[in-house]
Structures are given as C-alpha cells and as structure tokens.
Subunit: 359 residues, 2 copies
C-alpha cells in the first residue's frame, strides 16, 4: 500500500480546465499544493494553483520534469496520450492508473470490458471499413449511432444513422478514424453514478443523479433521480463492480440508461464528472475532495446526500447572467474563470439546493 | 451605488493568512481573480491566489501599485495602518471602509462607538498613566483586565488584575502603549454573530455560534448556541444595528457575552472571523463568499443554517493529526497550508456536521 501523502505535498494534474480547477480548490482545503500541466497559456485551473506548466502532452521531457516536481499525478480528462501517462508513471504514482484510462479511451475496448464483467451495454461492432459498416448495420439494425472509437466528448464525433444514409459518405466523414456502430437503446432516463475507490479498496458511491442533455451537452443533473429503490441499489452496486474490477484509485463516473430490461451502461469516465458537480453542495465531501483523498491515500469522505440538488450547466453566453443567479437564496454558484465565451463551452454551473426529500 | 464587479475582476486582499486564503478560494468559485498583499514571502493565501505582492504595509508606493492592479481592496485583519488604507482608497474602492477599521482598531473608540449606539459593553476607562490606572481601578474595581488599546489579538496584550499587583510594574509592562482598563463581565457564555451588509444596504446574519476558548485562543464554535429564542433574536438584531450604523460593506463579526442582564458586546471585528468558519459546511453561502459578494456589489447569499456544526481549531502540532480526522464521516477538513508549525499558531480547523436540530 502506498503511503498517504502529507499536507504540503504537491498534486500534479494533467489538464487545467474546470475539472482541474475544482480539483485544485478541493486539494487546497486539505492543505495540498497543486501543479497544473496544460498546453494552454492561461488555463482556468492556473488561477488557483500553486504552479502551472505550459507544455504539450507529446513533450515527454516536459512530462518527466513535471512528474519529478510532484508527489502524485492525476488527470482531469481521459484523452491523454498513453505515452504521457507512461512517462509520468516511471517517475511517480499516477492515479487512476493507465489500465482504466486505456479501457475508457476506446469505445470498443470499453464495451468489451463492461460485457466481460457481465454488465449490459448497447449492442456494438467495430467498424473499420465500409464493408464492416454494412455488416454491422445488418446485424444491429437502425436507428444506430456511428461513433469514432477514440477522442469523442459532448456528442462530438457521433452520427445517428436512420437507414437512408449513403455508407460511403458516412465512412468518408470519419476521415479514416476507427469507429464503432452502436445499437439504439430505448431508455426512459439517463442517470450517472459517481463512485470513488481508495488505495486500500474502500468504495464510496454518491446517490445516482438524473441527467438531461441539450444539443448533446449535459444540461441538468437532478438528485435524487426518479428511481425505484431496486434501481438505485443496482446502479450503486454496478459502479462498485466497475471500480473493483479496474483496481481503481480515484473518482469514476458511470453513465447508465434506465430501461424496462434493467440498467444498461452507456460509458464510464475515469475522472470527476460534470454529472457529479451537485455533490459540491449536497454532500459533506464532494467528488473533487473525494478524488484528492483517494489519490493521496487518505480515508474517503461521506457520500451521503444531505440535500436535494438540481445542477444546471451555464453554456456559452448563459454565463453573462451569472451574478443575477446570486439573488436566489437556493443557488450555489460555480464559475470556471474562463475569459473567452464560446458557443457550447462550459462556463460555470449552478447548484440549486433544497431540503432533502425522502428518496 | 457602486457598480457590481463582473467575474474576471481582480480582488485585492491585504493579508495572506488563512482568512485571506479562504477568501481567495471563495472568490474563485465566483470567477474572481485574487491578488494578495502580504509582507511575508510565501503567505498561505498565495498558494491559491492569482498573484501575490510581497511588501510592507508601510510601503505606500507598493500599496498604490497594488491598488492600481485590482478592482477592489479588502483585508483579512484589522491591524492595518490607516495610512495603507488611505493610500489604497485614493485609487480604488476599499471595503469595508476606513471608518469601521478605525473604530475597531482602538478599544476605547470601539467601546465609545458601541455605547453611543445604546449597546452594553463592559465598564471601561482609558489608561495612559499610572495615575489613570489607579483611578480606573478605583472606579471599575477588580477583577479587571488591562489591555493595550491597539494591536491585540488572541489574548495578546492583556493582563488580568486581581488587585494585588504593583501598578508601576503593570504600567511598565505596557512599554508606553496606550491602554484601557475593562471591568470584568460575569457571563455564562460567549457567542458571536457573523453578519454581512451589501452595498445596497441588504443585511444577512448567520445564526449565533457559541465560543469556547483555550489558553486565550478560540477552541470551538458550536451552532446552534444554547440560547433562548429571545437571546438569539436580540443577538442578530444587535449585529444588524452595528452593520447599519457603520454603513458597512462586507462581513463583520460581533462577539457577545451572555449575561443575566442581557447581551454585552465584547468587541467586533471588521472582517471574516474564526468563529464563522462553521458556515463553510453549515450554510449554502459561507462567510467568505458572503464577504466577496458584498464587496463585489452582488446580492448576498442565504444565511440560513442547514446543519448543526461544531468547529474545532487545530492549533500548533494538533495539525499533525489532520488526515486522521478524515476517517470520521461527519468531519469536514480545512487546512491552511502553513509549512511551519508553531505553538499557538492556527493551522487548520474541522467542521463536524450533523443533522440540523430544531433550535
């Protein structure tokens, strides 16, 4: 077992966006210093971090220098080249480790892993050629979704197929990227479970939240989700199963579809997650602090929900109304400190908190 | 009315200790950048701030340069020379303003102000000479407390007089500092009310907390305090009275003695306060964010208590047990990032949170 890190230790974070920023704020509460590694000149997390390194994820010598300056490395997003993680791992612990990252970076490997655990996913087939696509459509049927295997987020790199499309055009739009065809899942709701696993194997999961998307981007997460007791229990056990199977250290998010035939796993993310932001104002220990505790070798905090919360993302110029939301006493405000407003860019969020319901 | 500051604005903070640090963390949640001004090389707040200036409070040219680089100035402690505040005020808004600071810096002026509002304080008399002290002891009686008028904190600069002391020796120990003799107040408890006032005059007070000291330093604050409904209401109205009388902007702490004859004001501090740390885990908006909202011209947040909290300070080497406290699920941990442990130094605190009682 790794020794636990003392306050004053330095936590290195790959990626300095809003997730890295909120990790840095949580780390500070526990007395840790943070060092952000990001290709951008002024990443949002840099405003609250002890130190920032501006360098590319392909700059192995910069990665090694960074790893030498910190006591543990973690990351805020999963699309980090394996070579960067490998280089850091030669120098200091990286949590969560490369195995979880590898499984989450490729949609085919991810679904292979989940089905290997006996969990349900959408039907899927790897697609490299037009012939693959034709065969996959034959087997899976329509509607179906064609996705790149790697580097997709917020609905990017996804095409919905109804059956009328020209297959050659579809393949051309992928520009040679390996792809996956996924069958359509007829779900009544999408939920996610944020879970954490400590170095000693302790697992703590937060209550499932119910997600609503708008234009492919998460719009709201509501806790408690509208679930039966059985569904709630199933979701939490399922997340624990994934955490243990990966011998995971840190926070992980599992997105699930609620269907008449039970819970179907959409995907998991080996990191803190937008659908877990509600924990900042609904729990004694939020997902960010929980992640820092886990990777530092500390005991995990309480995952108990203390309030009902609706988390709403502020996208693009919705952020211009930020201070107006302060007038509602139920609103807890979180701004990401991004200077440039762009359409579709996550700029902040609001946790609207009310008394805990019985669910 | 001052216009409200937009996210991305820079908040300047005189003093980079734990209060400045927690102000900086709260400011970041709202999208503000912070610039810390502190004579020390590596103040705790600097670890989470956008920028730090190391300079003395008597360096007027550094103060002016600092004020030019920020959009508003505030402070984390009241013992800042008036000349520093005055210099900053010529360049940008300073909240709370110099008037509140001046009244709080001198124990005689402070008590004159409070009595002028019709509030009760301990009996007191200014003491400049041995003759003054003799006359004051005659009038006030013993036990009494001799304090320096200025620059005292955590019980420093205070001598308890029982009547057997040599007056010349007592006066010599003051080393010429102007003093005050205060009569002893026979109190059953010490409570404090943390209140905030916005630029537009909106006032929000948190629930009174009950303070227990150890060796002259705050040990625990417990909410709810053990008070009658009437006492609770009196305490909050009294704090509102002080805030309005000072035309105050920001968070202010009022320490009160609970006596059979009603509430007696001990002192007030024109800043966030150790006895308000419980709000971090007991309210939707804590005292730090409330202060930032106020000085930024934003609406104040909700002061409602959502949970019961016992705040315990970690003093000196008590901090070495910090991560062990993480194992108790009711504990919310706050570390100040101070490298050097010294006896009597405030190193962190723990908020132990439980379900809200009816009080």
């Amino acid at each position: 077992m790794t020794e636990s890190l003392k306050p004053g230790s330095i936590i290195g974070i790959f990626g300095g966006g809003q997730l890295g920023r909120m990790l840095a704020l949580a780390a500070a509460r526990l007395g840790f210093l943070t060092h952000i590694y990001d290709p951008d000149e002024a990443p949002p997390a840099g405003q609250v971090a002890y130190k920032t390194t501006q360098a590319s994820f392909s700059d192995i010598s910069a990665i090694k220098k960074f790893a030498q300056s910190v006591d543990v490395v973690t990351f805020e997003f999963e699309n980090i080249p394996a070579s960067a993680i490998d280089a850091a791992e030669t120098i200091c612990p990286v949590h969560p480790g490369g195995a979880a990252l590898a499984a989450s970076q490729d949609r085919v490997l991810e679904k292979d892993f989940l089905n290997g655990l006996g969990l349900k996913t959408a039907p899927y087939l790897a697609v490299d050629t037009e012939a693959d696509l034709e065969a996959a459509l034959q087997q899976i049927g329509t509607p179906a979704i064609l996705k790149t295997r790697r580097f997709g987020y917020d609905g990017k790199g996804q095409i919905r197929i109804t059956g009328a499309e020209n297959l050659a055009t579809l393949m051309a739009s992928l520009e040679g990227a390996p792809a996956i065809l996924e069958g359509f899942v007829d779900f009544s709701a999408e939920i996610s479970v944020i879970g954490a696993r400590a170095i000693d194997g302790q697992v703590v999961c937060f209550d499932p939240g119910e997600n609503v998307h708008k234009a492919g981007i998460l719009h709201t997460t509501t806790v408690p989700a509208d679930l039966s007791f059985q569904q709630r229990t199933d979701a939490v056990i399922l997340a624990g199963h994934v955490l243990n199977a990966l011998n995971y250290v840190g926070v992980l998010a599992v997105e699930l579809f609620v269907t008449p035939a039970g819970l179907v796993v959409n995907e998991f993310a080996p990191r803190v997650h937008n659908s877990g932001h509600w924990t900042q104002n609904g729990c004694a220990t939020d997902q960010f602090e929980q992640h820092i505790r886990a990777i530092a070798g500390w005991p995990l905090g309480d995952g108990q929900r203390l309030a009902d919360v609706v988390m709403t993302n502020l996208i693009g110029d919705e952020i211009s109304q930020f201070s107006n939301h302060a007038a509602d006493p139920e609103n807890c405000l979180h701004h990401y400190g991004k200077a440039a407003i762009r359409a579709g860019r996550k700029m902040g969020h609001i946790n609207k908190v009310s008394a805990k319901s019985s669910a």
